[in-house]
Amino acid sequence: MDDLLADFVAETREMLEASSGEIVAWEADPSDTARLDTIFRFVHTVKGNCGFFDFPQLEKLSHAAEDALSECRSGRREPDRALVSAVLAIIDRIGVMTDSIEAGEECSADGDDDLIAALQPGEITSVVGEPKAAAPQQAEPADGEDDAAPKAARSNGVQRSIRLPTELLDEVMKGVSDMVLARNDLARRLREAGEQPTIDGPFDRLSAILADVRNAITRMRMQRLEHLFGSLPRLVRDLSNELGKQVMVDFEGGEVELDREMVEMVRDPLTHIIRNAIDHGLEGPGERIKADKREIGLLKFAARQSGNRITLTISDDGRGINIERLAAKAVAAGIYSQAEVDAMSQRRKHYLIFEPGLSTADEVSSVSGRGVGMDVVRANIERVGGSIDVASKPGEGTSFYLKLPLTLSIIAALTVGSDGQRYAIPRSYVEEIVFGSSDHIDFAEAGDRRLITFRGKRVPCLSLTEILGTQADDAMDWEASTLVLVRLASDDIFALAVDRVYDHEDVVVKPIAPAIMDTGLYAGTTLLDDGRPMMLLDLPSIAQKHELVNEMRSATRVPEEETAEQRKAQPIMLFTGLDGRRRAVRLELVRRIDTIAREAIDIEGSRVQAVIDGAIYPLAGLEHGELTADRCRLLRLSDGDSEIVYAVREVLDAAELEGEVIPSDADAMIEGVALIDERPVPVIDGHALFARHSGGQRKAPPLSCRLPADSDWARTILEPLVEAAGYRIAGDGDEESDVAIELAEAPAVAAGPARRVIRLRHEPDAPGDGADSIYRYDREALLNALKQARMGETA
């Protein structure tokens, strides 16, 4: 439905509700002029609004009621019961019509004339006001007997909306957050108490419901991008008129939803990009025709959601960014030297547009080029946790890519530990994580500044304990720390030494008191699962405080450039296996690195599993040697669906796989051998690894097994055993189960189709050759049969 129409319906209904009390009061005392005024205002407003829409019936009715009421107000007519009834009938009728309008139905005009006629003074003598008022209701076919039913029936299938104060929404949201915390607390206690089937089931259900509710609440705060897009055509029109250009706008993805506050936050940056595009990007009509383009420029907006991020693309088909001029300006402004600019890639040069103090406009127009540049746009986008990128082709156009988090208050964070406490770091700043003990890290001191050498770069290094003042730097055991390489928006890099890195988490950030803000160390606070607060570090401010923002600029720039250009090479992770040999695995496979205690690894025959955070993972890599240390370092690999862990002796480094991987047939688990730093390194074959190890994974859909339907024995004794063997019990809804277990004694009733059948007999000794059935308490044979069934299925 049209937005305006929806507003009209909502407003009319609101007034109806508000005036219903007045109507009743007026009925009790028709001479009450205050009530009369209220009702007059109502019909008057309805009549006025009808003028915008094409509702002749509604307009006729409200007009007639308005006329009659205005005569009363001017004193030319005494309101009496008949008039009151007639007006009330009309108001009821307006309510009914409003419902029909909302439902998009036609409302029959039957009886409208009677209603209007009832307003005439001549009708006074007849006491027919009431019956007449009721008449049109009855005249409507199949709408039910009373007033309420049709209303309710009509509203089905129509999106009803109500208006709520945002505070109420926030309150509900807070309540749900509380519930989630309480749930987490309860979950922890349940875990500690061990498995309790009677409680775990309902608890899981509760968790699922809570997750749904939380989702729904989050959606309440969302707004379609249409609302933002809606205001843009006008802006574009005004700007293009001013600049003498013709611009057409195109929108895509208006249905994508974004947090209301986020929509407001991107409005200004977006406006700025549009201004730039129209002013600098798009050519004038003459120039466009010369360039063999359409006279009218095109400005395109596209929004797309991927995961919990929104990508907003703004593209024009103008002349593109003149990178030579941009580079020349950067040199002229003294931001970069000519040599630095020459060494830059195209992409990097485009990125110069976000440098402060650069404008490609030679002349300052009224619209842009006034110093507020793209650097401010970038800063604003990054402030809300987003990022901006640009791509441009000379003569073909420029595109800006805005990546935004779905909500302002939820950010992706890395949790780190320092001095026994946890802190959160916005993940967007985290470039890489390395262990201080790694061979590739050298610690050095230059004056009071501690530096690390990492991949040939010298990067300043700070320890979190020193930043927070909890521990002096001298007491720091650098080798034992984990280094988080932080890249700031200004492209400055520094290393932050922490005790350990915990996890990636999406955290809800809440503001902190001004006195804590003043420390310049924290940007907000968030609550951990157990309800304890955790501080979010304000890295840009910390870097500023330690004067890291400028001093390393020139030193980091050039090497950085190289890595940017090598992006196309495949990243891999180097490690030494348990046998001490170097191996590599493709970095995309690696989800994280875990360090677990030896006890958490369970080896039984060929089945090797590791327990991490309460989940069981198949463990690979043991074929190269024994686990020796008390603590084992594991690579957690993921193929998207399932995860396995790979035991290693040490994680060495991430590297670029530049050359080809030379295939090797010798070992099925090796994809081939690659040359890394001029040394041959076997690369693990992820495909073969997952093929071998993820078969028995819990995440793989379990096979189904059908049990004899009406046997208590099957339900109480067999079922737990079958489930323990990794099967799902087939329900009535399952068409065909993978395995069916039947009781030999029972008449062979086909419980349902199955691919394999296992028959159980009562007696230990088989009556015949015993090959086709298993004694029902022969646990081993039964499990074997189930296992074979599974092997047959998965093979």
Partner: protein, 144 residues
Amino acid sequence: MNDLLLMCMVAGRRAAIPAIRVQSVIEIEDITPIPGAPAFIRGLTALRSQALTVIDCSVALGFETAQAPPDQRAAVVEIDGHLYALLVDAAYDVGEALSDPIEVPGGFGAGWQAATRGMVETDGGPTLLIDVEALVSGPVSQAA
């Protein structure tokens, strides 16, 4: 003036917080310290899903911190949308103010002078009325 006051003990003296400002009185179990924050901020604690800034009233008044108060009670107040837990030595009942807050010649001592709105008479004798806004902005010595 019959305002209700939350009677409490701060830095060994009788003090009162306007009851209308107090959302609740809580017992604080865990405090997450905030390294780098001024001393009068003891840290954060969580009340349901909200983080409260824990203010050590004694320190905020410019006194030495009370050595781990036996009774970790705190009054929860909201200032400019932020929730604070005002940690006091002890929290008693809610009582009535029997007089308007008045100044006393010579003042109440530097710390008290800055963070109180004067002295009120109560059933329990003269009591200093705490100015919560002034209290959460920290001791005078730091502000100056």
